[in-house]
Symmetry: C2
Amino acid sequence: MKIVITGGAGFIGRRLALKLLEKNDLDFGRGQGAPDKVIAFDVGEPDPPFPDDPRLEMVTGDVSDPDQLRALITPDTDAIFHLAAVVSAGAEADFDLGMRVNLGGTRAVVDVCRELGTNPRLVFASSVAVFGGLVPDVIRDDTHLTPQTSYGSQKAAGELLINDYSRKGFLDGRALRLPTVVVRPGKPNKAASTFASSIIREPLQGQAVDCPVAPDQPMWLLSPRRVVDAFIRAAELPAEAWGPSRAVSIPGITHTVQEMVDALTRIAGKNVSDRINWKPDPAIQAIVSGWPMLFAAERGKALGFEADESMEEIIQAFIEDELGGTFVR
Amino acid sequence: MKIVITGGAGFIGRRLALKLLEKNDLDFGRGQGAPDKVIAFDVGEPDPPFPDDPRLEMVTGDVSDPDQLRALITPDTDAIFHLAAVVSAGAEADFDLGMRVNLGGTRAVVDVCRELGTNPRLVFASSVAVFGGLVPDVIRDDTHLTPQTSYGSQKAAGELLINDYSRKGFLDGRALRLPTVVVRPGKPNKAASTFASSIIREPLQGQAVDCPVAPDQPMWLLSPRRVVDAFIRAAELPAEAWGPSRAVSIPGITHTVQEMVDALTRIAGKNVSDRINWKPDPAIQAIVSGWPMLFAAERGKALGFEADESMEEIIQAFIEDELGGTFVR
């Protein structure tokens, strides 16, 4: 069983690769088994490096280059996880790069899959950024896509390709609209949502952190563990389960920032959550306020995708997975 | 004032070019005037040929080739009408051609517009084919796009590009979702909708015609005159009128096939409409039954787009415009 992950050196891609290697009962429609080969493809090497595993191969390159993809995505490939993307703020700042990677890269991946003639399973990381502008208070599975960023537009166009290529039998695609993933490890990045991880991660490591949005701001959240589970589930569901629409909003939980902080207090104590300083940043508040934060996600629930039970579960998982089970009281 | 029309040799493109040349009060946001130059760009020459007009230039070429577009769409271009497309049945039969022309061509057009740095007006011919599958009985402006054909998927992706390029200020785009255009002149083509024109056109010229769908099948209709008016109106409306969404369903009228035939009887007599033979074709009926046929089109009406008053008006316009005012009784 061979699996290719684009964006495989990223935080989620890396965890997905390692999780797949733990499995011995994967089923992508060609029989159950363990992966013989997992190829992680990305622009650079992962940090930290992958553990040694003869089944795991790291390849660096450009996802928008069909020739490079053809060397990886071969007829014996059972499943492709297409996670490679220039993130929201990056695609907004460098339009050409976003178009090349997010639209051109997706088109290259689906075209190379089509060339195989094997109808391979393809899971595409879409985003709730496909929604925006004038949307109802609660996003439903049939809410129209009106992205307000280049990133969201490119992801929405990718969904159209996934649907049409699947309808034509060129590939067996699935597109997951992911909530904001918390708690990410490492350093803050330039995403407007980065605070949602920072306000948990930094205080648990003894560091002060500024929260740029109001306590009553709701967020639509999913843990890294659940995201990885969702990718694997999406690849394993049979084609019949999807029907004509291959895109789905993955269930998350909606919590206000205050509720996130309250959960941190319950787990780690007031001393930890007092390391958060409320420093409103009108620019970030304006961006975050425009995001849809309530999703019915009925289809995702019906397809068996699972949200985290609670913010506490999300924080506990972060402490276990990334902090070695301890934190700075 | 310079105007470029891709698909300019097609039936609608040709009429649009000639209509634009009649105008002396066009306003695409850079002052009122008459066109100095209208370039019709297409894969082949128009049939019949264009009348002699020193302001009208016919150029043949490939809309997916940015270099060819750069020679036409220059900084002094005030408006571009992007009509070039491989039609529905064609894009379904030749997937690569549809992707190259309908998605690649649109991307080439918007990228060349962007290179200008002049934020030109761009009107894009979208289609009701962006809708399909599980849609409500009445399509609203916020109904989600779930195209069930490659053509519809490519048009929907084009709308995403038009919206995002407009938001970024690269061009000032407008995308029109057009109803089925009746009555088209000439011969039947391979479109499943071709009967909607044939059942009017052929009987008026003394010829028998088969109608492949049931009399109670509704159709969403617009005349060629109104389509041309809609393109010009779309280009003249100021950017402020559009807001964040640049796509709009153009108002049409919904009539059953029987109502279309009844209108033909009222105008031309029973002798003419008796030339229609009801010959159900289950394959065509199945395709047509899947099309959305009722549209609220509230936004289109608010923006001043106008449907035909009646089926009689559509038929009378066809007799005047294409049959020299007469028909075979």
